[in-house]
Assembly symmetry: D3
Homo-oligomer: 284 residues x 6
């Protein structure tokens, strides 16, 4: 299970500082007017619909940056399934501090929880017996990649490569630049760190055979029908190559793709189109 | 019509630099291996579904930060409605530079275009004769608020207050802290810049009357039925107060709310849950 | 009364870090040479002339960033009137830490206190019975706006809009670009968030009438004589419009302007020309 | 004569970026509403009172950061004495860009020009025949030290040490920590870079003698009367030591201090209390 | 051959800006005093000993950040072997700009060239027929990793994983935490992105067998003698596993290790202990 | 003895944050997989060869930034001579936190300790009776200057000027620009802060005489033989000028240069070419 110790503190603190600056640089004119500086309050973050909890540490750190004296209890751990009405996290401290951080804390955690919740839906659609995994892509929100990759893991998914330097992924334009799949893979093998796997995107079974023959470690089966995927997996198995399906993935196809035997199903929508989870902050 | 000159260059450049650092700090191991440093290429950003174009300048600046010699033409201006297959923007320059910037450029502009497209749908649902406007909220993606507020305007919407220092918005917890709506508005009037309007969230018609009597400039009608909104608007009209509807807004309700006479309909989903627009980058 | 909880911690910490880097990047060669690392000291910040205290939290945080073990007591709260010789804040801890932070702490708080003290003088010049307020402008020290706006409030003043996105202020060049006051206000109303008030600068009574007729929320009476201001206020009252006087404001005119009935008097000098308050740090 | 090439570009660009972010993060709602994106304009920065010009490069770079196509001509060079009404700098380009940058550009250059103008007044008060120089101190505006030190040079003054690592300045607390002036100077000599001069603050003639005997390179004559300064200089001359007067310096005392023979007169007010110069931006 | 397009511009510009701030925040007091602002100069960077050129782009960008009008010609490309006395890069422009940037430009490029030169020595020690590669490690200079990894490639070497998120490298402490090599590899396989190779450090041949059996993709042969390495490689070949030698590597052992058949030899000293290359900047 | 209180906390925290971001932005995929989030561990940093300890505070702060609950004991103080096998610092806390920070902590402290150790060797080569000091130069690692200058002091050395604004150092190109040594020194005297010493680089005894006559405070004897240095020192003594030897300095020459009577010996290699000290982190 993903743990919040996997969120680099340095990265998280910087994301939060930037978000607070965006919202609070001119102060909070309403709260300053209406709330006594020393008034105390309690508040709880509550699920307004079923969701997979994600971002407790981030939630707590938003308020800690505003006011280190705010206390935050993480009632449900990241990864827990919360029913509508469940209390996720609770706060106590200066009312001003709670009100000033509310929006930023929710903006961050609603997104993280949204990603975890959508990921969980895809993971739950996998049959029990499969070894296939649901993965994210690099289609993350600029500036928030670390949070979103963590949320995918919290939702039971796995990560794809972190950035352009972490693994080789040869796409059609790289192949075009090299003249052939074979040449592209050879160049990648010669250049890339020996610690990098080499993945090659293929559109057809012919390209697939070429990639396997050239020694790809992983093939990305791009926008193929379930039938073609099934045939492709058979060929990768012979070559000892991992098969990743991507493109046009829907919840409805997950079981079928797992049955086809793919090793990974990568889904951009997990991070670029997950709706924000509905979490409210109730005072009192 | 919103113009890209409304995007503060300083803000945009920093967002892009951060996004590029996130993806390129370890280099692009695939492109370095496969593509000759001096090889040239052309590419076009193409709509894969109908959308409202947004982010041309951002798209261009991503590549400019990577390589100032890349040329970018903005074929369709921000705000244009593009059919599926339409070319939005075109690039020419070093193939390496185009490949290295592709993902960051699309991650940013798919989000901006997604927001503009969803906003446009809500704006188009307004009857022709109405003066009601569709607005965003502060429920924006942390770090990207400036881009998303711009996208809302590009989609024909309007912005709500930019941050906690730009206007007063009294919510239930502020009222609770003050003891009454009247006291909350009085304190806000006494404290806030005289350039700030004072908006007060109300849940009932009684609260509404109290807010109007206390001199609110705007009332936020929170989660009210169409019928209650209709009644509420009648009362605001007498008080010379603006009425904003929020909470539980769907496309289907827009026409009805406009008919009820509200001045603004604010929708968090425009920025927190708009799916990424489908834009592809075609080379060659 | 303004409270230091109104100073966004994130903003303050960044300002202090930048200031310390400016002074301490090469170390403190004198203190390193002369003072034993573990030697302890006490010091008190003392008013050398009458002043309105401002910046206690900032003072404390400067030393906390250098050395979290330094203890700081805020003897007089922000907003207190201190006589010459009064102790404002007291410190105890490593002598090195106190000496290294002295200059930065004083540079920041002498400025803040200077602004608060000048503001207080203008506020004290208002007659008791008036509702008029003294406000700042955007003529703040670049990088220190949040501190200076806070200092104005500590001195009993009010803030004007925080930045170019917080309210509309139509000046002569905007009017020229639109062709008329009426058109400028109409465009602003159509474009700006409905949460924004619309203020219009006017140089003559004719322009004033035009602005009132066009629906301005506030008029800025620019560089008008007391007599013209008096007449202008009469006209704004009829229109239910706020009147702000600005330009050529001196202490001597404050009472007269209040008598004329203006709602706000905005003074750039509060932030661009307030002399540093005289505060010394006495050791021992 | 100080030249703008002495302003480190990296430092200046960062100061400007921060200042623009402070004012423009929420856009310029007035200008966006009222001014056509492609409308062109001309504007000139004009002295509203006699002043010593300072900050032309900074002025130009503010607009360049907003919009690289804006053209800026520096009509009068830094250091020139401008009469009231003189044109300092002229701009042409998109009207929006000029309006958006106006306040930040003036906030920075009014301060720089204010510092240069006040410095020039002190420098002009020196007799022709003297070798004494007017210098600043470390009492600069946090975040703007580089600009203000440059402005002092533009006004004909000289800089004191840049930061705590650039030279040794032994004050009373350092002496107290060491037990004696002699020991303090000995420790400083032993520790500090051999490239550092050692300056010692003295309050009395006895301390002065001790400092000279101990080998100080410079003595800071703190808050001494003109008579005492005269006597002190005689003693420093014998010791081959530089004499710097500081504390309680007024314009009226400058000639007398020069006559006393001091080498430097350092004045905190040059940077902490210079009023902003009156510069307006005239359009059209 | 490594190309400078592999250096992410965003990363490079930030490193340079930080380095310039470190050296130029207080200006260049010598150059300002001695050199006329408009005086022109030419200078050439010259090898003072044989070296492998590295950092031409960085050299040019240092001066470009100081003064965009400086012209820089890269006489020898990165990767070229320069004899003592060879001209690497030449500059022309304002003398002030050349003098101000000299030290920072040399500090960066002497390090890069030092790394490239040492790497080249190791690469040259490999026999012609070998497929073994020389690689770096994560033992890079904090803040300069991107530059140093590039320099290793310029010297003919290869990179190891970029950061802790790019590949799995199981060390003794990870094994201890898991109880066994087998369990550690199983957990890594289950958790890590499918795009990550799994490398396992082994100290003995027994551990090696365990790692191969558990499905490691790479084994790191830590501090083994040439004989043990030879035996280890035989076993990895049977398992289809890559063998990397590390620890106690000297130039003298390279040929022997290649003969043993290892796939990679990783050397921390390339980046943590390469002496700066001797490059001088000759004016005139 | 140099103390860690001389390391500006603000500067150190920023260097560490940057270094951690470089290594941990993509998480630590190995540790996340293999180590239980709550598992505890102990580890000790151990000298693998004789060295002069440096960087204890930095070591501790790396782990504190990752996880404030990690405890760190500095067993040996900075400046201590450690034998091979000696424990320098010990850690206890979450195993994940120790593993994630290991590399960054060692990368920073191995460099600092390497610099301190090399400096100590040069300092130890000085005869007991000499007043000569070993100093660094500005040839430091970009971004790490503060750490390296501290390490030189920890090793018993002294610092040279911190940056281009801290002291005047006239080199051949400055002389060429001025026409003569005399003119260069005169201009420097006229321009530079009176707190700056003026150092002049000389290549010949004739230049030396010219520099002394012109009033240089220090002469830098560049690349002179021991004999020429001896003669040069005699001449500086007459002029009351400090003599610094630089260029071509080796350990073997130190005693001879001290005997010649120089005041300072500056050595670029201390910071640009010190090999990393061998420090290991032993768990358990």
């Amino acid at each position: 299970m993903a743990s919040s110790s996997e969120l680099s503190r340095v990265v998280v603190e910087e994301i939060i500082a930037r978000a607070l600056a965006e919202d609070l640089n001119g102060g909070d004119v309403t709260t300053e007017a209406c709330v006594d500086p020393e008034a105390q309050a309690k508040a709880t973050a509550v699920a307004r619909s079923p969701l997979v909890v994600c971002g407790g540490t981030v939630f707590a750190r938003v308020f800690a940056q505003i006011d280190p004296s705010v206390k935050c209890e993480l009632v449900l751990p990241d990864g827990a399934r919360a029913v509508s009405g469940a209390t996720l996290w609770s706060l106590s401290g200066r009312a001003r501090s709670l009100l000033m951080g509310e929006r930023v804390a929710l903006n961050l955690t609603q997104r993280m929880t949204g990603v975890a919740t959508m990921t969980r839906a895809y993971v739950d659609a996998l049959p029990k017996w499969t070894h296939a995994r649901i993965t994210d892509t690099r289609k993350t929100t600029p500036g928030l990649r670390a949070l979103e990759r963590y949320a995918v893991r919290v939702g039971g998914g796995h990560n794809h490569r972190n950035d352009l330097g972490s693994a080789v992924l040869i796409k059609d334009n790289h192949i075009a630049a090299c003249g052939s799949v074979k040449e592209a893979i050879a160049r990648a093998r010669a250049h890339a760190p020996h610690t990098c796997k080499i993945e090659c995107e293929v559109d057809t079974l012919d390209q697939l055979d070429e990639a396997i023959a050239a020694g790809a470690d992983i093939v990305l089966l791009d926008n193929m029908s379930d039938e073609t995927v099934t045939e492709a997996v058979i060929r990768t198995r012979k070559g000892g190559v991992l098969a990743e399906a991507s493109g046009g993935i829907t919840l409805a196809r997950i079981a079928e793709l797992a049955k086809a035997g793919v090793d990974a199903i990568s889904i951009g929508a997990l991070t670029h189109s997950a709706p924000a989870a509905d979490i409210g902050l109730d005072f009192g």
